[in-house]
Symmetry: C2
Subunit: 434 residues, 2 copies
Amino acid sequence: MSAAAKARRSDPGLEIVAYERSGYVSYGSCGFPYAIKGEIARVEDVVVRTPERFAKQGITALVRHEVLEIDPAGGTVLVRNLNSGTEFRDRWDALVLTTGGAASRPPFPGVNLPGIFTLRTVEDALAIQQWIVEHRPTRGAIIGGGYIGLEMAEALDAHGVQLTLVERLPQVLPNLDAEMASHVQAELERQGVELRLDQPVEGFGGDERVREVVAGGQRIPADIVILAVGVKPNVELARAAGIALGPTGAVAVDDHQRTNLPSIWAAGDVAEALHRVTGRPAWVPLGTTANKQGRVAGENVAGGDARFAGIVGTAVVKVFDLEAASSGLSEAKARIGGYNVESVSATASSRAHYMPGHQPIHVKLVYESGSRRLLGGQLVGIEGVAKRIDIIAAALHQGWTVDELAELDLSYAPPFSPVWDPILVAANLARREG
Amino acid sequence: MSAAAKARRSDPGLEIVAYERSGYVSYGSCGFPYAIKGEIARVEDVVVRTPERFAKQGITALVRHEVLEIDPAGGTVLVRNLNSGTEFRDRWDALVLTTGGAASRPPFPGVNLPGIFTLRTVEDALAIQQWIVEHRPTRGAIIGGGYIGLEMAEALDAHGVQLTLVERLPQVLPNLDAEMASHVQAELERQGVELRLDQPVEGFGGDERVREVVAGGQRIPADIVILAVGVKPNVELARAAGIALGPTGAVAVDDHQRTNLPSIWAAGDVAEALHRVTGRPAWVPLGTTANKQGRVAGENVAGGDARFAGIVGTAVVKVFDLEAASSGLSEAKARIGGYNVESVSATASSRAHYMPGHQPIHVKLVYESGSRRLLGGQLVGIEGVAKRIDIIAAALHQGWTVDELAELDLSYAPPFSPVWDPILVAANLARREG
């Protein structure tokens, strides 16, 4: 919808139609855990603009309309109205593919038992809410220790659900290195979440609904299960239409969001993005990137010459009282990527040491030996993490060395930072070791 | 003392002596308002390291020892022990001048009445604390609407002092443009501080102690007055020794913190710094810069080749419930500096729009017409301001355009930011207008 809105602003003469399979457009799915937790009054509050609002801008947004087929040669789409069941063809001069991603649902035995949920759409969030109201679950399991899994742990905990988190890897948050993730794991345990790391799920048991998770040979009772084991790009339409996929399995795009086919652009979670640290295409499905790519595609559809600069893979998550953030590559991922890696770690205070309420912030910086180019950074702490990571994001965006990072004139006042910001403490450590 | 500590780490063989006129070394004077407010238990808690601690590192820190004269040719200093009154000469091979700055105390009639305080040293802070305890002031005046004035307003307000703030300029916080400062002024008034802007102080009245401030032809009752009308570099020793001052009136230094005289370095509030936005020397006396310059001087004294990269003039202040931050040049200062200036302003949310507790953040970006180079940024809001300004600081450090700023891959999660960070909202606005 950001592509549609930008195209409309760029060219008031365009006829713009958006087809959406689900019942909602233009929503911030990242808000669902907070709606389920109860911090947001209604799931629908995460909707930014309704089809009625878009109509006033001259954009026709048709929900519950599934595009079944793209015909690039004929310049048409085949659409099914999911309410009436009727099908029709619509003509286009330019097409922006923004089919997004879908939650993975691996074929575990029993995975389709009622009470096992993925979380991606408004409908998913409403179904989880309804299940909580109707079944008042007391035991729950989170499958997957990524962002959604951890946010949903906080959300279900708020409903008094006793939780077990099952993760097939030896740590949560795979974008963090293990020792940084350990701070997050400690917070989860402090909050009463039982961790089962390094344990692949084997299946689910139950009768008319889920009753248990089987993992690592053990049975874990659960009246509700959140399956948060990853996301996949919705590339079926693209593949069938001959739109090329990239090495990540998502749709390949250039910096104008063009696909390999003329007059077809792609943006958002269905598409790849240039990772500025590696210089290679990456698939990091996040709302920020989706919005930026959408604008670029929308502007270009309207005859513009917009360019998407790429990503550095910045992300932050709130895990109960903790904030965990990363940008660029972790040490582990940098090594896998073939970089010759050095790293420094520091723990420094979120405020001046004498200020009440100061909290430790754990910082890790990863950089390349020799060139000393910053490859990534990670921050974990109770406060002051979320926007501090953006300093590292800015450095990565421009390919700075860790020494240049140490030079920054960062803000300081006792309530907000020590005189040496935690990032500068870590960067200075790298300088001393270098 | 950061120069001393760095020199010690760099060369364990050096004999290092630090002479300090006051009774304390190595303290964070920015913490004083919070000590006076009562958030910090004792004023002395802001001391980072005592002379005893330095002694263990092999650094002799002599407090209450005033250097009266530097003899560059002979390589000596003349020192007075303020406890005993005795004077002696000490020899040096290398000298680092770190005499800092002093609070301005203009010769207003009555300025020396008891109850009128500047705030710069531990002794100042202790004197203010003692005055509050002994005299229980009910009416107070803050002279000057800079950082210290505003922080002291919050501190005295916490003691139930009814405050009037007198500022000779038409706004507080001169690093902000007037419309951004107006948010700060509204917060001060909301907190019950009476503002007298555009009113130069004419003098003070009283008997054995201050009773009133005279400003704008009116008498303002006051049992305590904080005189926070600026800071001056302590350049008397330098000037007498033939150390060259720069255009700002502070000591001129190169990027190695060298002065014009051989074997004499200068660092901290007594010295200038290269302003990376203007490319010219600036005098922005802040603890962060002082610490960085100190390290550079210390490393070079020990035979190193360290370089100070310069500043962009980043600062943040907490004013009651508000955070106000700036980096680079305001629009007004950029115009005075001769730049052809454009600016954009936006107000965006500190968190996702559907999250409880979200607060508006006011953003202003200033950039050069034509080149579109970012010249400065300002942020004011209840939360999420202090470290967000560092994104702008990073952009200014490298001389980015406002369009490059708009490309950044900034962190996003609903509790910490909208999907379009307020800084990106403003930068996109510049892009659209450009």
